[in-house]
Assembly symmetry: C2
Homo-oligomer: 468 residues x 2
């Protein structure tokens, strides 16, 4: 059987016909009707148009789609906002994508419980705004907030900018609803901070990147909205001073919400780039820091924040500092930290690792030496959420014959392994880092992950080739 809307020469498969019959043409797009954006996430890795894209309008439709695919052993790739950087949502040509974008909306804000129930396809920023309109604060925040979806944030356990204070996506999730591989709907919605009635099943679906089930609804914890923010940019003489200041700031302020470090090559490149427009402090310092505090007593908090920096100056933990005098200036500091200017470098390779905080300074030094020894003209940048133990590394190197990105991987992940770090702090494993998972997880751990996968998805239809 063929349809005129399909590219000639491509027969519609049985599973697509079944999905069409069950869900209708509006919810099942195949052949030429599949939009290009479903071919890859923001990693751009190995794009492929899937066999079809299913766009369910309800949990029941997700369940129907999975039930049909499960019966035929048809592989399925869940897709949220496609902002992932590890290829976790990138399909193969033989997969069916299930895009959650039509499962969108805030179902409820329970002001008494301080919870919000949202459909998985809701953009994070939409949820943030709804929380704010209700007088609360949704603590999850990341650069892709306008495009990423809450279901994807949960499936990848997104991190972002305020983890040191509020935790990752996992800590914001009180409950969820997910559809299992065979189409079973698992309703673990929960509004309580305390609930120890049996296994906490929702944890299985947080951070497992759609390999154990598809998240369809999320109950998020809401926090009280902070009443003020203080932001400083500082220069530190060495990594030991950075760590000392981190602990001093937390001990003095309580509510440190960001503690970011920038190594000097990154700082110079970003602040010299015309896109950046500001250089908060002069070049030449071994470390630059962005420190943010969210508080509930603006006047007293500002005084404490200033006193903290004065003490740190007196103790030699920082050599210079500037406190943002406006939201605009705080935003300028963040533009420097985000450093989008480095994206202009061709062939940039980005890493997202974590290490015990005390080990990060030495790691960056050794890793930088090894990379520059191998590629003397390369750009090698270090920066990240140091207070969260999270370091980003960006490398722009010109490879010689026989060299590839894997030679960079080997150096970076080798240094991570040597220090008990993780090859993925917040971006997940996806397809991109799968071959290196053994660098930070032991054989017994990998075996247990496989056992869980086999127990929840015995036919292996959910996001195949991702994570494991």
């Amino acid at each position: 059987m063929r349809r005129s809307s399909e590219p000639s020469g491509i027969a519609m498969s049985d599973i697509v016909r079944e999905l069409l019959a069950a869900l209708g043409a509006e919810a099942v797009l195949s052949g030429g009707a599949v939009e290009d954006r479903h071919a890859a996430d923001w990693s751009g890795l190995d794009p492929a148009r899937p066999l079809a894209v299913v766009k369910p309008r309800s949990t029941a439709e997700v369940a129907t789609a999975l039930r049909l695919c499960h019966a035929r052993g048809q592989t399925v790739v869940p897709q949220g906002g496609l902002t992932g950087l590890a290829g976790g949502a990138t399909p193969r040509a033989r997969d069916i994508a299930v895009a959650l974008e039509r499962l969108r909306g805030i179902e409820e804000i329970d002001a008494d419980a301080a919870t919000m129930t949202v459909l998985a396809g809701t953009p994070l920023e939409e949820a943030q705004r709804a929380a704010e309109a209700a007088g609360f604060y949704l603590a999850l925040d990341l650069g892709a907030r306008g495009s990423c979806q809450v279901g994807g944030n949960v499936a990848t356990n997104a991190g972002g900018n305020r983890v040191i204070r509020y935790g990752m996506a996992r800590e914001q999730v009180l409950g969820l609803e997910a559809v299992l591989a065979d189409g079973t709907v698992l309703d673990c919605r929960n509004k309580m901070l305390k609930n120890n009635a049996g296994y906490d099943l929702k944890q299985l679906f947080i951070g497992s990147e759609g390999t154990l089930g598809i998240v369809t609804r999320v109950v998020l914890r809401l926090h009280p909205r902070p009443r003020g923010r203080a932001t400083a940019f500082a220069a530190a003489p060495g990594y030991a001073a950075v760590v000392a200041l981190l602990r001093r700031a937390q001990g003095a302020l309580g509510g440190v919400s960001a503690f970011e470090a920038l190594w000097p090559d990154f700082y110079r490149f970003v602040t010299d780039h015309p896109d950046t427009k500001s250089k908060p402090l002069p070049d030449g310092s071994p470390f630059y820091l962005l420190i943010e505090h969210l508080g509930f007593d603006p006047a007293a908090d500002a005084a404490r924040f200033e006193a903290l920096l004065a003490e740190a100056l007196a103790a030699g933990e920082i050599a210079d500092a500037v406190i943002a005098q406006s939201d605009g200036q705080a935003r300028e500091f963040w533009v420097v930290r985000e450093g989008l200017a480095i994206d202009t470098l061709p062939g940039l390779i980005n890493f997202d690792v974590s290490l015990p905080i005390g080990a990060i300074g030495d790691f960056a030094e050794r890793c930088g030496q090894a990379l520059r020894a191998r590629w003397p003209t390369a750009h090698v940048f270090f920066y990240g959420h140091i207070g969260d133990s999270n370091l980003h590394i960006s490398v722009a190197a010109t490879f010689g014959p026989g060299e590839s990105i894997h030679d960079v991987d080997d150096i970076v992940y080798g240094e991570v392994r040597a220090r008990g770090g993780s090859i993925s702090a917040e971006h997940g494993i996806g397809r991109l880092k799968r071959d290196y998972l053994g660098h930070c997880r032991a054989p017994a751990e990998l075996a247990l992950m496989q056992a869980l996968k086999a127990a929840l998805d015995p036919r292996g239809i959910l996001n195949p080739g991702k994570v494991l």
Copy 2:
């Protein structure tokens, strides 16, 4: 084969002989050498002396014990401080208890990472003190702190007094080591706040009450030590006012660390009892509240705390309030809230449920009416961590012929079910609440729990008959 140290008439089983041969007589106690305390946890439910008690001195010895038991299908009950209230650590006569008490000690405090690695058998209070000595704050705290063990806290996902601010035990755990049913050692130690490299396996062992593995080491997150505390006792005119004040306090203070409510019958009984020694406010109010704030700026915090109570008085959310003028007075408030005086009532039955915060007032009213209608002379008390959605109910009733505790269970858990609550907020399921798990978990959830159990413990040797 018999040994002279055994009570006559009891033959030593093959598994006990194997354990003795592998671990030695110091680590394997059987027959009359089994101390009475291993027969039950604090629930006192159905005590039984186990076949033997194994007291391993290392993770390797735990692994050896489980490997031997697994080979024979011998059931094993892990035991920590035995302070649980749900029978989760109570053995049957045919079980072997594995007591973790010799796996005791702080292995490391990493001040840079703000983490602490402790052996599972370490008493919570010992870990709290070590954290404090290192300048940090271990945020987990509960009444049994002197007796309970960190491994048991993790296995039961203990809650306690500061959950509204810091989360439950789960939120304090960055990593752990556990031994699986077959003796495999699973090393998921981790010091990083962000780590998304594959499934977060540690979650399986937190709150699963020893049914999926035995926790042997824990890496705990440490927080900055608060610099001051403010505590108030207040009287509120109704439940809507209680909730309004909760949200007002969180929005104004940020760092509310306890928000406890006491219903009037509980308050009157406790404060009239000679053991209590104080009555912070007169009888006659519909609700009493204990509010605590932990902060980092004692002078400014005290002013804000006082202003908050003044605003709440003006808004009619409270009718009266007293702020503790000393640590001693704050302690007196907590003695009232803990209400140990009610333990003097014979046949007291204690419940630990959670409900969406907005539903707790109505729940207590209906539940109280139903219980008093059935047992007109009963004591029925409501109190608990309202800010955590956690309510305790204590009932002392005289049963008529054919009546039992299950008639109370049916009423209480029926009202919980009707409101989407949980039959266990912080005490777990153990053996005590197993029959009621279906009141708050759906069949698909129970089936998935069984699938996890089968995947991790296919022979069913770990804490049989608990939770599931």
